[in-house]
Symmetry: D3
């Protein structure tokens, strides 16, 4: 297996009309979660991926499982839990540029994950273990699970990838900083946003923030700079990698996950880090052109065509 990741996937409901959700009449059901987004993105790019999670013993749990499985991600480690419902979420498009979410995930099935849900051999069989900063924020048993998973990875020589994904709605700042730093200190590859880096280390230059992650132990640092692209640092390359500017962003959600997956895909394929990062930039750009977190994710063929500016209209009649 190329990558194993763990986290919570939610069923999302999006109002079909924009504006305050109180005026909505219809909602569309989709599936989303940072870690499963990454898993699906990697599967779309041709990699072999496994997902570890817990869902409620309910229809939404079945929806989550079948959707992710349908995308070609292994869900043998997604277990059902009768004690709590599957987490859900509402997305409200207030204006063309302002989005709000409302969670019903507190006490969800996924937040009941414990280290006992982890199978060391499953993690040991992967090249990369992908961790985000969302899963440890869900509950103390989830934090423990993440630390245990990282521990399993380390002792089996599995590369640990960490995307901080700070969620201030889910935990206190102090608690968050401490836990995220602990995980970062065990990671081999980190993919922080610039804001997240400043949250962890205080205001500083992009270059210095990258250094701080390396001091903590990361051998590859890929710092996300939004539309400007990324700042990348590993043993062979240090510098900025430009993003692909998108004029008509349809839905920005999921861009960070697609970026992370694109980078990991490149690294798994043995590309130099700056090339891997270009794939990340392209995947991140492409997913914003389509409504939904994963609906716009590219195959390897399409991401390469996009990088070569080769995607064009193809309408005949």
């Amino acid at each position: 297996m190329d990558v194993v990741t763990l986290g919570e996937t939610m069923v999302t409901f999006t109002s079909k009309s924009s504006g305050l959700m109180r005026y909505a009449s219809d909602f569309a059901m989709k599936v989303a979660g940072a870690e499963s987004n990454v898993a699906i993105a990697l599967a779309r790019l041709g990699h072999d991926v496994g997902f570890i999670s817990k869902v409620g013993d309910d229809e939404f749990g079945e929806k989550v499982r079948s959707f992710i499985r349908g995308e070609g991600v292994d869900v043998n480690k997604v277990t059902s839990y009768g004690g709590a419902p599957t987490g859900i979420m509402f997305k409200e498009k207030l204006t063309p540029n302002e989005m709000r979410v409302q969670y019903y995930r507190k006490g969800s099935a996924a937040s009941a994950m414990t280290p006992d849900d982890l199978d060391e051999s499953y993690i040991a069989g992967a090249r990369f273990l992908h961790i985000t900063g969302i899963t440890p924020a869900l509950s103390s048993s989830c934090l423990e699970s993440v630390l245990t998973a990282v521990h399993y990875a380390k002792r089996n020589g599995v590369t640990v990838v960490f995307d901080p994904n700070l969620r201030k709605k889910l935990w206190g700042e102090e608690e968050a900083r401490s836990a995220l730093l602990e995980i970062a200190s065990m990671a081999d590859i980190v993919l922080p946003g610039i804001d997240e880096a400043e949250f962890l280390f205080g205001p500083s230059s992009t270059e210095q923030l990258a250094d701080r992650f390396q001091e903590l132990g990361a051998s590859v640092v890929i710092m996300k700079l939004g539309k400007r692209g990324a700042y990348v640092k590993d043993h062979s390359f240090t510098g900025y990698v430009d993003g692909y500017p998108i004029d008509d962003v349809v839905d920005p959600v999921g861009a960070g996950d697609a970026f992370a997956a694109g980078c990991l895909s490149g690294l798994l394929d043995g590309l130099p880090v700056e090339e891997a990062c270009r794939r990340g930039n392209a995947a991140g750009a492409m997913v914003t052109l389509v409504e939904g977190d994963v609906e716009g994710l590219p195959t390897k063929e399409r991401v390469e065509a996009f990088q070569n500016q080769d995607v064009k209209e193809d309408v005949e009649r």
Copy 2:
């Protein structure tokens, strides 16, 4: 004010297609809750009604408030609470005859209601206080609130109406039985279903179960017998009141609330209890002909036309 009631109102999401909810793509948003259903039904029938509740400081809270206010129910005592979200619910029509619900109401804003949310003078100004067995099941502070409300009613000469509405998903049987009996013992008018009566007193005949409620203190007992109608007992009348048989039930949910509202409407209008019960039977039957809990509720004019079998097709072109 004719009637004051208190309880939780939820935003409901119903799949637009029948079958397992995992296959749904679209959901319609509506508003429902036993107590607000009764309040709306009474307002539709021309009465002056007030609703006491707590909603989250979120869009669903605004939806609940504006929907109920739009129906002409006073919502000045519906407060916003920033500490928890508005409760929501999913309705899944498995087959034409089998419906399932999934709640996200645990720890909702309404379950944070406390006696401090009650204004004695508001209750004192009503002729009837309407209580269901759902509200006390939401949390211990909700149980306390219900008991306090009943206490306010009793010491201000307000008639206490009690509809047991047993919800086994929300609390344990022992706890439920004890609380419901305590409330029943303070009620003047009770509207139990036959199953609920047996849950409280053990298996027995309809007549004897009605007696047990009177022994507890109720002066009016209206026992719901489903399609067969009701068994009614007060100082002036004892006997069965036939229901209105409906062949094409579209949505059975809300029938009990419409029945209760019809009975209370009749009593408020000074009808003899058997006549009031007929209005309840008609309102309960009518609401099942339309999708949704309140969408089929009749005005007084329409319920009387229905009782006179005077509702008919009126299509011209």
Copy 3:
């Protein structure tokens, strides 16, 4: 041309959900009108039909015109009128068995029709002129137009067909009775409902009511008896013709128009009146199986298969 008819066609809006229209969020747009329903039904059955009408110089007028033209009916005599909007109508499905309509047709473009809109040669070129009791109810100039059309038919040897289609919402009873009797007295074929016959002549037996129409001058009387079928009387046959019982009526609206068209189609094809009436019964039954006034209208092939009980499931995979 086989048949020419004249009248008002409206754009109709039907709520996508049942129950009180105030709760609707979406409406579907269709096109309907008794006379154009008959015209479309006849075209579907293979006849050559022309429609005379006036529509507003607006999008709804274009909708009416293109829909009817699309069905193969000649609309060269459907003129646009800038002085008033196209009439529209809302259909509200209160319960599975109760439907209500709300018109916005008062002062519509069609009600501005005058005798000047009629081209005698167009009417003279038809075998049948089809008239309903709705058109004369729209305005006094419409009544005049109908009388003029009938006059043109009579002096050119065109058979006059009259379907009373009483609409009490559109005019007073006295006015209606007088006008309908005047038209009936000039008709060769009449297709009254039993209620309409009683409205015109007072309560009486089916047989006697049919006689009254013959005394007025009709040579063929086809009296609609709803589900029971029809009572038919001409020079060669007198008696009852059974209907086709339908268990799962989806939408009863349009059945009368389909019946009329089926009968006329049979007569145009030279069938004996009882056979023509059977075709009418079948067409009327078939249209009720589908939502909408014209969407379920049969071709000649399908109506004959239905009469031979030859319509069956045809699902393969």
Copy 4:
């Protein structure tokens, strides 16, 4: 009560697809009307508002009433009228930048409003009476009603606010000019658009047009200049107030009403006129970001955040 307004509210139907309405298949039902838009906007901003109107005794009347009541506006003076239907309207989005409307409001229930429908004490109890130039255009009895309402306001010391809202489709130019000038001459606060000012007084500079309103008697003149903002003149301030430029206008309809409400809200809160106008500019800008006339109206908290450029994306997962 802070503000009382009177006018016609219609049920609106908007095609779900853009382009010529003849090709539409589905329409969405909403509620709109300049005066009720202002009333709702003010209620959203925290003010106490009352609406005077007449609706048909039909489902659309109930829709209008419950929608406005749901928004927290007092509708005790919205009466039902059996003699005419509630006015309705169709909105057709021809292209992204071209919109057309089609009314069915001629002879509507609201146009039957008369001075008898006005309760002097209701108007007397308000700080502001809000009048638009649409209501007097509906019928002569509506014009009379407006003049009577203004008269009641004047003799009870209620500030008269006038927004000309010229509608050339509804009345002749001469008639319009004369009536609007008469009302303007009694108004304390006027909110004309620059085109409307020129319609009333002939072409002239913005400054001179504002002077003309002051000469007529207005103490506060707020002249709308579209995207450029407004020109404001009262005893303490004279000058231009910049608007908030919006790139992604979703639906421009309702901007003027939101602007008026924002200004009035500021004045009610005791802000200097230029500050009040800024609130108007912000509210007007915000409402264009959302489909519908009122769906994007801000609360006071949100309008202030917008003015401080503090509204931003808030998406977490």
Copy 5:
């Protein structure tokens, strides 16, 4: 693996409105195919199932693959083929009781399946090989593929299950009879409909038709008799097994597939054939209660509850 099956799965489009498809405006996309229906039904019942097929290298191919994979069926043997599109199908609900289909499957990717697409070890690893009479009708290379698959099964000791599923639209009668008899003669378990049995052997009694299949070599014969249930014959039991009568059939399509899967599930679980057949009857009945071929398929828990008449309403609030 418990069962391997092979065949064509199509993307289906169903009009959202009933009646002639020419009037439809919206279509819903689903996935269906007799063999994948059986595979999904078995997976839902807890079995380990593999599907062999070919899809186009297009979006519909991806849809088919991800849908079936999402249901837990192994799709490693579903290959993509660039030379032809994925087959599709339209379903038209003419009336509540009459359905029609229109195929675009001629020359589809699946019809290009050849024996080279079969992996003997994949088939050898299963307990049952499931074959229908549809696959051999698609093309001569498909017929060859089916015969090869059966051959692989026979020489590896895999039980061959055959459901004739006669499709006269797809091939000529002579060709069909000859091919189906050839396959039947190699099958261990046959599940013919009574009509199909008569098609193969000529008119005869149910009992004699079953004998004919046994003479051909089948050890288990389960003859489908529609609503009446089935006639079953193996070494230990001979007789009729009653069906579960369903009043409110929503969608009959897929019932035969669910029946087959229920029977196979029972046999895989070691139930006596009459018990297995009861499970088939129940599964077949349950699937007709829901729109779609697979959406109503039961889990083992639900099918057993249904057989015990234990499925009931579960609505609380």
Copy 6:
């Protein structure tokens, strides 16, 4: 008749959501085809047009026929063919700027057209015969039909109009070049795109490419240059005609057809070629503002208003 055209019209299905079609749930049905688009555009502009085609004997054939007939195009020469289905097509909006189509038109009814389907007198009665390069690509019998039609036109003095409309998906490059050149050599008016001209004659300047068409025999050459407009050459005018720039293109499909129709309309009206081309530019621009191939086509009144920049917002309330 002004213009006769022949070709294939398909029913098109467009996903209601953007992104990969595999994620779609709903599709909207429309009707499209280059030649019928031109026919409809000309009818909308007030011309008398006839369409020659073959459709399947199925619902989609009826849809095609009634849609085109509804638009006022003569369809007496659109015949039904039982041997093959009507061609259909799926449109997939991958991103705001990238569209893909998938055809199911191979072996369609239209591709079975033969010279026998042509009625020489029908073509002889037209002023223009309009031919595209799509029809000859459908099948060899279609190529023959086109050549025959052109032959009929030539010998009856009908002007031959040719729009190359190269479709590389439908035939090989050599075959296409040879056939298109053959048709071009018989055409009087040609409307090639610049790419198509280069495909036929090899890379060259716009001016020289136009010369080549004239050398082949065309008296009027209108070369499409996309947003830049067109290069026009006839006996009286040679030069560039600017296009109308459109910022908010909603759907580019159909612009070329609208352009062609606009040019032909102008020529039919006797405008100089540069004026005709301006009408073409305007029609082409206008149709891109609306979803769908024909939904945004202008009437003559609207196209002239657009050319005079006179189209503006018209929203009143």
